[in-house]
Symmetry: C2
Amino acid sequence: MGKNSSEKGQVLRDDIGWEALAKYVKEKSPSKIFIITDENTNKLCLSIFLEKKKFEFSSETITIPVGEIYKNISTCFNVWETLSEKGADQKSLIINLGGGVVTDLGGFVASTFKRGIPFINIPTSLLAMVDASVGGKNGVDLGHIKNQIGVINLPELVVLDTAFLTTLPHEHVTSGLAEMLKHGLIHSQTYWERIKNVDFSDKVEFEKLIWDSVEIKKEIVAKDPFENNLRKTLNYGHTLGHAIESYFLENDDKPTLLHGEAVAIGMILATHISAEIVGFPQRTLNDVTETILNHFPKQTFSKNDIDTVIKLLVFDKKNRNGKVLFVLLEDIGHYKTDCEVDNSFIYKAFEYYKNF
Amino acid sequence: MGKNSSEKGQVLRDDIGWEALAKYVKEKSPSKIFIITDENTNKLCLSIFLEKKKFEFSSETITIPVGEIYKNISTCFNVWETLSEKGADQKSLIINLGGGVVTDLGGFVASTFKRGIPFINIPTSLLAMVDASVGGKNGVDLGHIKNQIGVINLPELVVLDTAFLTTLPHEHVTSGLAEMLKHGLIHSQTYWERIKNVDFSDKVEFEKLIWDSVEIKKEIVAKDPFENNLRKTLNYGHTLGHAIESYFLENDDKPTLLHGEAVAIGMILATHISAEIVGFPQRTLNDVTETILNHFPKQTFSKNDIDTVIKLLVFDKKNRNGKVLFVLLEDIGHYKTDCEVDNSFIYKAFEYYKNF
């Protein structure tokens, strides 16, 4: 885009976002537009998109199956083949319309098709809005290891519109809430207090909380784009959260957790570890745990479950030289990155979670 | 690497290259080193590498099957899984030791594993030295479409050593020769005259020709990194060459062509089209054809073969908006990019090739 146009990766909301999208399509005049959806967003969000968009341009829709288990190379392969068959070229545009699975996978497919074609993300889930929409990370899972394959590549534009949230079942809203709670914990006492007492029926305040959450992530990514230090705080609760999510996904006896549900557990555990190792205040720890358990169902973990989760930790992509490193908090908004944590603290944290 | 170290993507030869590699390993101290080879380079080149390298660091070897048909996502998947199992992390280093298939695939695997880990290329074939070593393009084929999936990402370093060429059968040497002939055609009458009369037994002059070929490609890529105009000349002969290569690969009745063998035919065809459309001198055309046919076996094409090759053209990733665009030459070293070519000229060029 020209100098007067918005720069790559910008997140724009509501009308301003839809107008920027229309301007992009007009200026770039893509050879073709492909919309990637999953079966849910194809049914529930495509009509909203078609109503909201402010440009006239025929498009083709490519639909992938619903769910994290399809965020893999095999699904990418099918999308690459479909793009090829339908004559996509380097001047084609991909619009990813969906939750994190669609934007993560669609972003990776676009970044690697013919060595990279432009893409625009329109996140339709709360989680994708407050988390996946900023920072340019994309990718897919490899076996049970999350986001093992991917690149960092910014979309041309991200359009945020809370109209899509009306299509979500409530547990998907709370899944996004986990990342918003995280933004409070790692960044600001004020935001923590506001999000802690969230009232989903107050649409105006809830929208404000969403935009502020996006702003917090934008600020963190802008300050540390290469994840040398500050950006690592975005992994708060994710080291154990990812391992728990992977383990539950692989294990037939366990329910499949939403990403936010797993991260919620991970944050309770990480906050207990923070209290043990770097002095996170005990009273605030209990407040954090109570807040999270108000929104997220408690899961049970046997000794064997915990052993396996710890084994999975070493595969987490955030680790260096085989050591498991955690982001910990000295208090809300005060972080320490690259903390080595002995397994005994992990067992104690699970014990605390169980008995709370 | 620090400011005093070489910059990313540098191509360094012989001792200077091996020393730069040793310095890189010393400075970066990778968590692990993985060497990607194919079955041939594992057998023939790994021992040369181990003898030439100037650093002490244990490494693990990952070996892929030999041949362009394995340059696909399925092979990537196996390598990603092996890296995962062997505990590769973001501080690990991948060294790609092989021809274009290994450096293209290994570069893509490294660029996408955990959203990108560092890699170094050590090309062992003439083709990989004079072509794949410069420019940062990597990727794999999708079905019969070459390099459909990939990214542009520079290796940390490229080490060139002609010691590896002694391991190559002669037809693989001529395959690389095709790209060197191309460098002459698109860039310089002087280089064309030298490479035209190449004497493989004169090692000193042949090595000079290799380095000069690398320099030509480096100069072109540096002047036009984003392939807006000049860099497109590197596709000379490749539009038809790729289509012919893909067609022969898919067709059981045809021999499998080496990349250079297909490009050699593509260059004769493109030069004939150049003579027809943009006035490439007739006498020079015959000189080009004769030179190429001195080194490369002639293939036969039925009417049906040509029809299918033309159909495949529209899938070539260099095309825009479904139009087939060619790089043509007004004379040696004088190019015109983005030339639309009517199919009738392609049929006439095949006729010329057949009757020469």
